[in-house]
């Protein structure tokens, strides 16, 4: 079958089973848009800014585990998309971004809307391709999907010059991908896994530290089974939330800069640490020197060898897919007669319970002003803990992580690695489109939401009934908090003045707006909003301006050097 390059591109997407393409047209991709017009295999979602196209594809990918797809034009189209691509890259999200390029003959001529897309995106993609020959187009698309979704996932860019999209070629997508230079390891080394089991049996103060890799590997079942089998405490990184059921008693909460007291204390004082799909981020272990002060043995399971012994030296590295490795580890443990010393383990739990008893997440429930933590707790109650929650970046993000316990993976959608303000709303669109009947909340702040507010229009066009929970503290709260703690209360440029009337703004886009100013109105408002299943509701919660996120580990400090909320 002979098709032109644009039709081939579109056919590849259909053959990959793509359901949604998030995009924005322009000169270099007009042929592709024409081919999209003539097909009905996938739906194209027209965003209002290319950054949002990529975030929406990202939200789709995080919530489904499938590859997200975005389509942008050359020049400003691809530069606008870069923030989205970098966001996906930092959190290892599988994604294919297709960008138009100026015609082959015009490349390098400073042509209209020409940028070096390959060069600009190189440091923030897993890989990228410039298609220079129509013969390579379909095979390149196939490789792109393969690379994006295997091993440590990540975004792949395919840059297609306009002339290529117009050239005819025979369509064939039956090729298999065989790359001598790319063969990610799946199965872990059995000898290493045996060593790990032995080390776990020898532990007196064990800890399981798990992250985004568990979610990416769809290994929540295995993580849960292993944790229960061993009876060990389990903590999640911000990216791992939901990978272990948060309401389970063996869960000690998130760890890190804004982790719980008990999680950070247990992490520091553990003698055997099992790290699963987590990369010892600086927001997680704080100062590596401080972390290393207490001796412990570390087992690290990760599919990417470069994540292992990068920031913290590891004793038993296991390169492989979390699910495959845990399956083998569980089998070994079940077959063994050895068990961890029960007396030591119960003493360890007694210590952890003591740490827990300080109740580090307490807040003033009698406040006459709305406390942001209270809003998130009510959101959890009203949605029965089953909503998909996307966030922007700042204090609201941390409160959402702390006060909305997730019992399932892929429900918590947040930009952890890049920390991209503007992520929440477009990501929520992707989530909602993938799960039309689910409750989807975007927990945001008055500053972040303004970074992609234009997507309210996209939501209107496609009837995307996301519930926006705006924790409006009239501040870039997270910035203000650092200025309060570390810059002598000099609030340089962190006050958000001249805010729009969010109710009217939502209404002008054709949505429902609500302003909530009293604590007693929080729950009724949430109930009313979630009852409007077909509508986007923008809830503007006027919250305490000076509330801070606790616990907090100051930058560069050790994870046990936490600032706690003052006694209430």
């Amino acid at each position: 079958m002979e098709l032109n390059g644009a039709e081939i591109t579109v056919k590849c997407l259909a053959d990959e089973g793509v359901e949604f393409v998030f995009g924005y047209p322009g000169g270099a991709v007009l042929n592709i848009y024409d081919a999209i017009f003539k097909q009905d295999k996938f739906k194209h979602v027209l965003v209002r800014h290319e950054q949002a196209a990529v975030h929406a594809a990202d939200g789709y990918a995080r919530s489904t585990g499938k590859v997200g797809v975005a389509l942008v034009t050359s020049g400003p189209g691809i530069t606008n998309a870069v923030t989205g691509i970098a966001t996906a890259y930092m959190d290892s999200i599988p994604m294919v971004v297709i960008s138009g390029q100026v015609p082959t003959a015009a490349i390098g001529m400073d042509a209209f809307q020409e940028v070096d897309a390959i060069g600009i995106t190189r440091p923030c993609v897993k890989h990228n391709f410039l298609v220079k020959d129509i013969k390579d187009l379909a095979a390149t698309m196939k490789k792109a999907f393969y690379i994006a979704s295997t091993g440590r996932p990540g975004p792949v860019l395919v840059d297609i010059p306009k002339d290529i999209t117009g050239q005819p070629f025979a369509y064939d997508y039956s090729m298999s991908v065989d790359m001598r230079s790319y063969n990610p390891v799946v199965k872990g080394h059995t000898g290493q896994i045996k060593k790990a089991a032995q080390m776990l049996f020898e532990a007196k103060r064990p800890m399981i530290y798990s992250g985004g890799g568990v979610v990416l590997s769809n290994a929540s079942k295995q993580l849960t089974e292993l944790t229960r089998l061993l009876g060990f405490p389990c903590t999640n990184t911000l990216m791992g939330l939901g990978a272990y059921p948060a309401t389970d008693k063996q869960f000690v909460g998130m760890l890190g800069m804004h982790g719980t007291y008990e999680a950070n204390m247990a992490m520091q004082h553990s003698d055997v640490l099992l790290a699963v799909g987590a990369r010892f981020d600086d927001r997680v272990i704080g100062s590596p020197e401080h972390f290393a002060r207490d001796a412990r043995r570390i087992i690290h399971i990760d599919i990417d060898p470069s994540s292992i012994s990068k920031r913290v030296k590891v004793d038993v590295p296991i390169v492989g897919d979390v699910a495959a490795v845990l399956d083998e580890l569980i089998k070994l443990i079940k077959a063994s007669k050895e068990r961890t010393d029960a007396t030591a383990l119960s003493a360890w739990w007694a210590q952890i319970d003591e740490w827990r008893s300080i109740d580090c997440l307490k807040f003033d429930r009698a406040s006459a002003i709305i406390k942001p933590q209270f809003v998130v707790q009510k959101l959890w109650e009203v949605t029965k803990g089953e909503a998909f929650v996307t966030t922007d970046v700042g204090q609201h993000q941390m409160w959402a992580a702390q006060y909305y316990p997730f019992n399932e993976p892929r429900r918590w959608i947040t930009s952890g690695g890049l920390g991209t303000m503007g992520f929440g709303l477009p990501a929520a669109m992707g989530v909602q489109l993938a799960h039309p009947d689910a409750q989807v909340a975007c927990v945001t702040g008055e500053s972040s939401i303004q970074m992609c507010i234009q997507e309210l229009s996209t939501c209107k066009q496609y009837h995307i009934p996301v519930k926006v929970v705006n924790l409006n503290n009239r501040y870039m709260g997270m910035v203000r908090q650092w200025q309060e703690f570390f810059y002598g209360n000099r609030y340089a440029e962190s006050y958000m003045e001249s805010l729009p009337d969010f109710v009217k703004l939502a209404e002008s886009y054709g949505h429902v707006g609500m302003k909530i100013e009293k604590p007693e109105d929080v729950e009724p408002a949430l109930r009313e909003a979630f009852a409007m299943k077909e509508r986007l509701v923008f809830m503007d919660f006027i919250t305490d301006q000076t509330e801070n996120v606790f616990p907090m580990v100051p930058g560069g400090a050790g994870i046990t050097e936490m600032i706690l909320a003052e006694e209430l």
Partner: protein, 163 residues
């Protein structure tokens, strides 16, 4: 420590910039980098000389392996290997200097490959240290121009880097 790392990579446009970009983005240092196609035209072989602690070198190797275009890597410094670099030096060669330059070239087993009334161009191969020694040995004011390729390396004996 100084390490010499050999990389076999797909001979694709942009492959070099991925390696160079990786080094600059992650703050690794490059002392020299050479690259050319191999007997198999689909593969390029690159030699990088870098410096770093064991941890940094370990990360460099892992990060290089992660590049999709990279097929295989060998840290030559992990075992016995041979290292060679080519240098072309243009020197002032008239009057009494002319004889002296010829003599120095001979001592270092260099070859004079271009001759004018006033200059010699000397070709010299060897480990980087030998080239350094030559530069040290001749009168600095006599040096008009130098160009070095950077080190290429290969494992000794059965140590082979091949697909």
């Amino acid at each position: 420590m100084r390490h010499i790392i050999s990389i076999l990579m797909e001979n694709e446009a942009g492959a070099l910039s991925r390696v160079a970009g990786l080094f600059s983005a992650r703050g690794y240092n490059i002392e020299s980098l050479t690259v050319a196609p191999t007997e198999d035209a689909t593969l390029s072989r690159m030699t990088i000389v870098t410096r770093g602690s064991e941890e940094v070198i370990e990360q460099i190797v892992k990060q290089l392996n992660k590049l999709i275009d990279v097929v295989k890597i060998l840290d030559l410094s992990d075992g016995s290997h041979i290292e060679r670099e080519l240098m072309l030096v243009k020197v002032r060669a008239f009057g009494k200097d002319r004889e002296e330059m010829k003599r120095m070239a001979d001592i270092f087993r260099g070859r004079i490959i271009d001759v004018t009334e006033k200059t010699y161009t000397i070709e010299l191969t060897g480990p980087g240290t030998k080239l350094d020694a030559f530069i040290e040995a001749i009168d600095p004011v006599a040096i008009l121009e130098t160009v070095r390729t950077g080190a290429s390396g290969i494992g000794r004996g059965e140590r082979i880097l091949k697909v």
